[in-house]
Amino acid sequence: MATANIEVSETPLVLYALRRADDALILGHRLSEWCGHAPMLEEDMALSNIALDLIGQARELYSYAAKVEGKDNDEDKLAYLRDVRQYRNLLLVEQPNGDFAQTLVRQFLYSAFADLYWRAMTASRDATLAAIAAKSEKESAYHLRHASEWLIRLGDGTDESHARAQAAIDHLWAFTGEMFAVDDGERALIHAGIAIDPGTLRGRWLQTVSGVIGEATLVLPQNDWMQQGGRSGRHSEHLGHLLSELQSMQRTFPGLTW
């Protein structure tokens, strides 16, 4: 028997926390898919550790979204009992792992943003978001370094690793624009000092990204057409499959606890 989806009253602040929580959960889940499959033991541990950080961030953000909403929801319900159209994550983070290069490039593009984003968010007027940011920015600095080192190793490695890394960048590039987009609800939060304007991070993000890509002897794609939709629940076909695995226990055995 399947459980019904919960309803969420998406006020601007609830939605804001939910979007970041969904980013962290979905990317964390993607990385956890490597557990036991990574090309070497150290990477298996590294990707699982990063997944753990991200899922930890997601838990804090979901708990906060539930608290702000003030209804019957909690972190577990928000994660397990919303369907694909209710998820608000970036399209970038739900993209499949592909090969190791694609996983690392996805992680690199996101971490280069998350590192700047969380550092800026430590100045949020919202005490909880600022506290979550202060923890997350420390973690994202490690995530960025890990992904950057790998990108250089792959790009400046063999012909095969170089070609795969370049293909991953070319493939994922169109999903990066969504990180910098804002809607009216977020604009109000930015105005109130609760959120930061991600557009102001774009220059520094591009600087980091192009610096590492250059050092990796790879090239930045020239196309600037960007795909969006995740923030409003219009996802690629991949998210539904991911959720069917992530949510299967709660959907099959509603209310199950350890």
């Binding site: 150290e42 991200l54 923890k135 370094r145 950057s148």
Partner: protein, 167 residues
């Protein structure tokens, strides 16, 4: 009045000592006080509330630590102790006591260095081997057996070792 105050502070000390006796399940030589995870112990009558702060957002040891604190306080005679988690200010390895650093080294884990170096994207760090003290060491992986550790190897004595990451 003096006696009452002394009683209150003795009671708080007893609660603090009980909570501080809890060790990190992954690094059993370090108490949560050594780690800086134990932030606050407040006693009001026979009610006690303990504040702890997570090291890493997703650290799975936190639930176990909270449970261990409750058990330790109950054993010390406090009824229905409460443990709450505070996020701010964010935990940093700078809070780790000198005693804690020495215990770590003796246990075979290189203690964290000053957190100021953490921001460099590709900074070279010199981490001394906890076994032989040599600084001729190399990083094997930024991520080790737990969230808080990285994997290193000593090029002098050839021993691999854990390094407690600065945070």
């Amino acid at each position: 009045m003096v006696t009452v105050l002394d009683d209150a502070s003795a009671l708080r000390q007893r609660a603090w000592d009980a909570a501080a006796s809890v060790v990190d399940p992954e690094i059993p030589v370090l108490s949560i006080a050594d780690l800086g995870v134990l932030r606050e112990v407040a006693v009001d009558g026979d009610h006690v509330e303990v504040a702890i702060t997570p090291t890493y957002s997703g650290c799975p040891a936190m639930n176990m630590i909270a449970l261990e604190i409750e058990l330790a306080l109950e054993r010390a005679g406090f009824h229905q102790p409460k443990v709450r988690t505070v996020l701010s200010p964010a935990w940093t390895t700078d809070w780790m006591s000198e005693e804690g650093r020495q215990k770590l080294r003796a246990y075979g884990i290189a203690p964290p260095q000053a957190s100021s170096s953490r921001r460099a994207l590709f900074g070279a760090q010199a981490v001394a081997c906890p076994q032989c003290g040599s600084e001729d060491t190399e990083l094997l992986s930024e991520f080790g057996s737990t969230s808080c550790k990285a994997l290193w190897r000593c090029k002098s004595c050839r021993e691999p070792f854990d390094y407690f990451k600065c945070h």
